[in-house]
């Protein structure tokens, strides 16, 4: 019997990607992680986050009747499956892609956030309060820490 996995994958992945992007902006703004935000002030970050999350869910539910069919079923002899493992893998793929996109965009947007190279690099996420992800990583590697 043939099987189809892609049907739900390409619908769920954009939902996770864009909602994760929004959630990351809200979380970064809340924690004061200036190096991860797309905007200088928190309010636009919250607004961007809310629009991304709501927009992603509205798109997802507008493009299909999500409660109408089971995630594992047989359609015209083709087994359609999207079980727990597939859902988890897709969620992780979407969330990690959103994190990578956030790091790339925020590093470009905030390229001038920290010009001094004399200061030490704070540990963990605290570093992203005053510099971008790539600035933190490169300074750490340069100092050999």
């Amino acid at each position: 019997m043939a099987s189809a996995f892609g049907e739900y994958f390409w619908q769920y992945l954009p939902l996770v990607f864009f909602s994760s992007l929004g959630v990351l902006q809200i979380a970064a703004a809340r924690a004061g992680l200036r190096g991860l935000t797309f905007f200088r002030r928190p309010l636009p970050c919250y607004l961007f986050g809310a629009v991304a999350i709501v927009g992603a869910f509205v798109w997802f539910y507008a493009t299909g009747d999500r409660g109408a069919e089971p995630l594992v079923r047989i359609n015209d002899g083709v087994k359609v499956f999207f079980g727990e493992t597939e859902t988890f893998a897709t969620f992780m793929g979407g969330a990690v892609s959103a994190l990578v996109a956030t790091i790339l965009v925020s590093s470009v947007v905030n390229a001038r956030i920290s010009s001094s190279t004399d200061k030490g690099v704070p540990h963990g996420l605290d570093a992203l309060k005053e510099m971008t992800f790539f600035q933190a990583i490169t300074r750490r590697l340069r100092k050999g820490a």
């Binding site: 909602s19 994760s20 959630v23 990351l24 809340r30 869910f57 999500r66 409660g67 969330a95 540990h123």
Partner: protein, 167 residues
């Protein structure tokens, strides 16, 4: 109500909330508690699901779904007892509650709504979701105590994430 009984909405919201809890704390001490809670939640949910598949709990009890024509969702033909959705929801909520009371209560409300929705739409009996919730709560506490003993594993993971400035 249809939104909370489908297979997507609540579980996605619960998983997205893990991102907020991981990144969103303002102080270092709260962040460390939150990140340990997310670690525990991930294991709690994973092991809760593992119980269902490893021991085939649903097949052992072999209880039919309450309604043959559910009003809000598709017809479920697999076994009803216990509810895996309730186990997952309450595993998330319990693990987070241990590290962050306010977030845990919010997630608990979401998990309750999910479980209530499943009963409301005829996908489960109340006893199904109560048993599922107990499995989830038990598993998250079990994971919490296991990772308190085997501290090195979460410390290693969170330490690495901290080294690359993501924790």
């Amino acid at each position: 109500m249809r939104l909370v009984v489908d297979d997507w909405f609540v579980i996605t919201c619960l998983a997205l909330s893990m991102i907020v809890i991981w990144f969103g704390a303002r102080s270092l001490s709260q962040r460390q508690r939150n990140q340990r809670a997310v670690w525990t939640a991930a294991w709690g949910v994973g092991i809760s699901c593992l119980w269902f598949h490893l021991f085939r709990i649903n097949e052992i009890f072999d209880r039919a779904r309450p309604l043959v024509e559910p009003p809000l969702t598709y017809l479920r033909t697999d076994q009803s007892f216990p509810s895996e959705a309730a186990a997952v929801g309450f595993a998330f909520a319990t693990a987070i509650w241990i590290g962050n009371r306010r977030a845990g209560i919010a997630l608990g409300f979401l998990a309750f709504l999910w479980a209530f929705g499943r009963v409301y739409c005829g996908a489960h009996y109340p006893s199904d979701v109560i048993a599922g919730a107990l499995i989830g709560i038990f598993t998250s506490f079990l994971m919490y105590f296991i990772w308190r003993i085997l501290k090195f594993a979460p410390n290693l993971f969170i330490g690495f994430m901290r080294w690359i400035h993501l924790a």
